[in-house]
């Protein structure tokens, strides 16, 4: 009986720990994935600022639900814990976040990059060329398979 109570307690505490936690996508782009695996199918693209409800943690992955109720996985390094509650999960929230204000204050931002563009000692055109490279997941999966990688 005692064991059952402890088990029940464990599940209640776990559920409470997770319930209502909102995660926010902190990278420019990511994907809601079908499995906890970067090479699994993408269920939906995720943009920076998208809010996700945390359902469960699985190692370095989170099982989450997005704004339209779709369940899927996202890697823990792609998200941060949001300070807003679940009512803020729907898109449309305006206004600068604390992080955005801190960013503006520090000057490591797009505004200052624009000021440097065209200056001697900076070649942003080639940076754009480097960053435009995109490798599709299917191509990466085929490359890993062909090379007998993991």
């Amino acid at each position: 009986m005692k064991k059952k109570i402890w088990l029940l307690g464990f599940f209640v505490v776990s559920a409470m720990l997770l319930a209502g936690k909102v995660l926010v996508v902190k990278v420019m782009r990511s994907n809601l994935l079908a499995k906890p695996d970067f090479l699994s199918a993408s269920l939906a693209p995720m943009q920076k600022g998208a809010k996700l409800e945390l359902i469960e943690m699985q190692g370095n992955w989170y099982l989450v639900r997005n704004a339209v109720g779709l369940k899927g996985y996202i890697h823990q390094t792609a998200v941060a814990e949001s300070k807003t509650n679940l009512s803020g999960i729907m898109p449309g929230k305006k206004g600068a976040s604390e992080e955005e204000l801190a960013l503006a204050a520090k000057g490591f931002n797009e505004g200052n990059e624009k000021k440097l563009r065209g200056s001697k000692g900076y070649n942003f055109a080639d940076v754009d060329w480097v960053m435009d490279w995109n490798i599709a997941n299917t191509a990466l999966a085929a490359f890993i398979r062909e090379g007998k990688l993991k």
Binding site: L8, L17, F38, A105, K106, N123, D126, A139
Partner: protein, 279 residues
């Protein structure tokens, strides 16, 4: 049942935090938070913009080799490694490219822009050796080593501006941004990382290579090549610690009977992508 209630109550008490009214935080406190924020407090997005500017600075000194085949090949190898690293998702992902320069070298800018010279690409004799170079550079990004090159006085000054609410207005902020870029570029192009940072990147690279299915012995092979040209003042993978010291600790950390994975298919595609571009 009482125990269950007790557990719930304990959890509630432990997890409850009093609401913070941000408007009541003094500006000075915000400034202090920024000051205390060193490299690890720089956000993903800030790291991205810093990295772009550092890369832009490097690319103003080293021309880019816009070879589509090799750039694509490097990006495939790099991303196969990134899947297994401790920081696979960064603001705009990892990007790999080649510089048209014969001096063997490799640079990792913040935010995951990794640049290899043609000189170091030419030293690699197979895909695993190329992967070893990339794994080492990825590890620097994972541990945010490039950001640690920013002098603390820059962040202190930024904190002071925030405290004084000189947000975004002044040329001083732009100057600090540029100075921070020069701190990092100076470390990447001249000073090099500390011995400890290099050692950690080497040891991390061994684990990363293993996790991705590459032969970690390839790192040793690359270091032996670096050692052979060290006297010619090559900065390959940075000049310090010396290649001999790096070889010693890399050897100590390689499994003696490390399994030789099948390399034949990788060798075929290495030849297809890289060898045909060699003179």
């Amino acid at each position: 049942m009482k125990k269950l209630l007790l557990i719930c109550l304990c959890f509630f008490l432990l997890s409850w935090k009093p609401p913070i009214n941000l408007s009541k935080l003094s500006k000075a406190k915000k400034g202090l938070e920024l000051v205390s924020g060193a490299a690890h407090k720089i956000s993903e997005e800030e790291e991205y913009f810093i990295g772009r500017a550092v890369a832009a600075n490097i690319l103003s000194q080293y021309p880019l080799w816009k070879n589509v085949d090799i750039t694509r090949y490097l990006n495939l190898i790099g991303r196969a490694l990134v899947l297994k690293c401790d920081r696979p998702e960064i603001f705009s992902g990892y990007h790999f490219a080649v510089l048209d320069n014969d001096e063997p070298n490799a640079f990792s800018a913040p935010g995951g822009i990794i640049l290899l010279t043609l000189g170091i690409v030419a030293m690699a004799e197979n895909e695993d050796e190329l992967a070893a170079i990339l794994a080492h550079e990825i590890q620097h990004v994972v541990t945010k080593d490039p950001l640690k090159a920013i002098k603390s006085q820059r962040l202190k000054a930024l904190g002071t501006f925030a405290a004084g609410e000189a947000i975004g207005s002044s040329d001083q902020v732009l100057n600090i941004f540029q100075d921070s870029i020069m701190d990092i570029s100076g470390t990447l192009l001249q000073k090099g990382y500390s011995r400890k940072q290099e050692k950690n990147a080497d040891l991390g690279a061994i684990e990363l290579l293993k996790a991705a299915g590459y032969d970690p012995q390839a790192l040793l092979a690359m270091l032996q090549k670096v050692k052979a040209i060290e006297k010619k003042k090559a900065k390959a993978f940075s000049a310090h610690p010396s290649a001999s010291k790096r070889i010693a600790y890399v050897e100590d950390n390689l499994d003696q009977g490390s399994v030789k994975s099948s390399k034949s298919s990788r060798l075929t595609r290495f030849k297809r992508f890289v060898s045909r571009h060699r003179n």
